[in-house]
């Protein structure tokens, strides 16, 4: 599998480096880079709707006008569910944007189809891609790096950590820190203490895995397989093994944990509101990323929650997942406009602390943890601890197909009681067929 383990050691980053970073290390230069358009140009940027994110990008567009008055940035905002399809059609019909926002796992597909413009080193004021990579956490931009060149830059790299409802724990006589599950066996043991059933109605789940989209299912399944020592993709990315013994163990454990802690038939989570069960108090524990912090804080839960590292099969060999969204530039646009597009991406990403403060997105940039914003951000150290032992969401030209097949396999086991091995064997058959294309 093409996974880049992020061995991030957050404490080793010097404050001086942070100050350099924030004051101009990746900050935009006042002078226009070579090849920048001299006349008026308009560039279009597409991104997926998420309230705080949209507000911040709009703010950045306004600020960019003052720096580069000859460039007009046209925003087009769409739902996260639609953006992939719209980008695909945009590429196909030549109506795509200059700058696209996409889930990092899709960039391999775009790269393989020759749709992406490599990052303009001149715009970023670096001499080589290695120099740029050095500004990021190890593996931080792996999802957008192909053939030694960077094609996409993430504005968020999310860990997946365990969010705990303090209220639910206290009601069960538990301490959300001391009694937090460190392993999946701990999680199973907590199930009967936290799960509440009235008649045939589950009124509170102890914990549940996500079922609202194959994408989220894969986000949980991949790290579980890796916790058992397996991997879903071969190193060269040319084959997949979704029915390996480790994968079967992972799905079996998923099922067993669910039986004791969850109730997949009782959920209000949707793709648009993936944290709804937790927000509504329907589950005592939930896996999500730092970006959910503001949403949870604004709900009835307020600050009455705790975040702990994601449970492990073996805490001595921790493994989690990181996923994110990244900006890329459309290769098909005129050269000068592509320079302007990369220039705007550079401008947007220049202040990682603002991204954290305004959108709760963690850029995988060195030193972000040393900023005042990060130090105030609830449980930031926990999120970073999980990122430090994470692999990126699987990168493959066929990640959508693999995600769909695995998602269906999980649902067959959970909803229909199918045997995990048989279900994953079926998924493997589907995936192999895709790779043969």
């Amino acid at each position: 599998m093409k996974s880049w383990t992020i061995k991030r050691t957050v404490s080793s980053v010097a404050t001086a480096a942070v100050l350099t970073l924030m004051s101009g290390g990746v900050g935009i230069a006042a002078d226009a880079p070579a090849g920048f358009p001299t006349g008026n140009v308009t560039i279009e940027i597409w991104w997926h709707e998420y309230g705080p994110f949209t507000a911040y990008v709009k703010e950045l567009i306004e600020a960019y006008k003052k720096v580069r008055p000859n460039v007009t940035v046209n925003p087009v905002i769409m739902s996260s569910g639609d953006i992939q399809q719209k980008v695909a059609v945009g590429f196909a019909t030549g109506t795509g944007p200059h700058i696209l926002d996409q889930d990092a796992s899709f960039y391999e597909l775009y790269y393989n189809k020759g749709l992406l413009e490599p990052l303009n080193l001149n715009v970023f004021g670096v001499k080589s891609y290695d120099e740029l990579l050095a500004k990021y956490t190890p593996g931080g931009i792996a999802a957008g790096t192909f053939g030694g060149k960077v094609y996409a830059l993430p504005y968020q790299g999310n860990s997946m950590s365990l969010f705990i409802s303090n209220k639910a724990f206290k009601e069960a006589g538990l301490d959300p820190v001391k009694n937090a599950p460190k392993t999946w066996e701990d999680m199973k043991a907590l199930g009967p203490k936290l799960k509440k059933v009235q008649g045939n109605r589950t009124v509170q789940k102890a914990f549940d895995y996500p079922y609202h989209s194959p994408r989220w299912e894969m986000q949980m399944f991949q790290p579980l397989v890796e916790q058992f020592g397996g991997k879903l993709l071969s190193d060269d990315g040319k084959s997949a093994s979704v029915n390996s013994p480790e994968a079967v163990k992972a799905l079996t454990m998923w099922r067993d944990v669910t039986k004791l802690t969850g109730d997949p038939k009782t959920t209000k989570n949707t793709s648009s509101n993936p944290n709804q069960d937790f927000i509504d108090g329907l589950t005592a524990m939930w896996t999500t990323g730092p970006w959910a912090t503001s949403q949870i804080s604004q709900s009835a839960i307020k600050d009455d929650f705790t975040v702990v590292p994601w449970p492990q099969v073996d805490p001595a060999k921790p493994h989690t997942i990181v996923y994110g969204w990244a900006w890329g530039v459309n290769k098909a646009k005129p050269d000068a406009e592509k320079v302007a597009a990369w220039d705007f991406v550079h401008f947007m990403l220049a202040k990682p602390d603002e991204w954290l403060a305004k959108a709760a997105f963690v850029q995988p940039v060195k030193g972000v943890n040393e900023t005042a914003v990060a130090k105030k951000f609830p449980f930031f150290d926990v999120h970073m601890k999980d990122v430090a032992v994470a692999s990126w969401y699987l990168r493959s030209e066929y990640s959508a197909e693999i995600g769909q097949s695995v998602g269906r396999a999980i649902e067959r086991v959970i909803y229909d009681g199918a045997d995990p091995k048989a279900s994953l064997d079926q998924a493997q058959g589907e995936v192999e067929k895709v790779f043969k294309k």
Partner: protein, 307 residues
């Protein structure tokens, strides 16, 4: 009379004036030309293009590569496609059949004098004007464990049903919405059909001693045959194309319990970037709809041909 006046002039070829029928035909062609042109450009040409794409391997980015019937051969052996086709057929069967008696029954009811008839008719017609996306979101809330439907079931002592979260019930939940949405629409069509039946027939039947049921069976139903044909054909076509509701409510799941063919086509084209295969699926869907329509028309018109 002068000589010159009598001399034969140059031969004038007289143009025969167009007959009234020809003028009417020309006028009709002129009227329908814009519509035909729009249909040609925006419907038939894309359909032809889809037929062509079904014979290619096309990823939306690189030029299509001709591969003959490989997509079709592959599809008929693909269990996912066959499962999706089965889901679509189940949806069509169980969402079309109940709509017929329900919409006809409501039409008969509203064809009579009824207290607050117009208000009730408007209320019943509401689902038709509601956008599919809004409807799907509203029904998703209604189907939740603590939603309206399970609450009502709870009053009746029935345990909550995991409507959209169970492979066993999800498709039925989606079918129920299809019925709920289609019934008032076809009720209006049946109502128009009922109002076109002359009252004299019923009066004559009444004088002959026919009761309400006999009048309905021997007058209403036979005279509604063309309307019924229209309703069945339209309903099947609409049901075959159902897309937004399963996409929003279930995404085709759990598993692939609600992955109807149009949803699978969409995923194949725009999530998996396999436009050639998606086009081949569309051709299957098109042929299926045509076949259904043809069979229905033949069945409904067979009696008339025999006469």
């Amino acid at each position: 009379m002068s000589a010159s006046a009598c001399a034969p002039g140059p031969a004038v070829k007289r143009v025969r004036p167009l007959s009234l029928a020809s003028k009417q035909a020309m006028f009709a062609y002129a009227i329908i030309f814009p519509t035909l042109a729009i249909l040609l450009v925006f419907r038939f040409l894309p359909m032809l293009q889809a037929f062509y794409l079904s014979l290619t391997q096309y990823d939306l980015v690189h030029p299509p590569k001709f591969i003959g019937f490989a997509n079709f051969v592959d599809l008929v052996q693909d269990p996912l496609f066959l499962k999706s086709a089965r889901v679509s057929l189940t949806y069509v069967l169980f969402s079309v059949v109940p709509v017929l008696p329900l919409s006809l029954g409501l039409a008969v009811l509203f064809n009579r004098s009824l207290w607050l008839k117009n208000l009730l008719r408007s209320a019943i017609f509401m689902p038709v004007v509601m956008p599919a996306v809004v409807m799907a979101v509203v029904w998703t809330f209604m189907y939740q464990q603590d939603g309206v439907i399970n609450t009502i079931l709870g009053w009746l002592g029935i345990d909550p049903i995991a409507w959209l979260r169970s492979s066993a019930s999800a498709l039925w939940a989606v079918i129920l919405i299809g019925i709920w949405r289609a019934t008032p629409y076809y009720m209006i069509i049946f109502l128009a059909g009922l109002q076109a039946i002359p009252a004299d027939y019923y009066d004559a039947a009444k004088m002959d001693g026919a009761g309400r049921w006999a009048s309905f069976w021997n007058i209403t139903l036979p005279l509604l045959k063309p309307t019924t044909l229209l309703v069945v054909v339209m309903n099947v076509i609409v049901a075959m194309k159902v897309f937004a509701v399963p996409l929003i409510m279930t995404g085709g799941g759990p598993g692939d319990a609600t992955r109807v063919l149009p949803l699978f086509i969409y995923q194949t084209a725009f999530e998996f970037f396999d436009m050639g295969r998606a086009a081949a699926m569309s051709v299957f869907l098109f042929v299926g709809v045509m076949l259904f329509s043809f069979i229905q028309v033949r069945l409904f018109t067979r009696g008339e041909e025999l006469r």
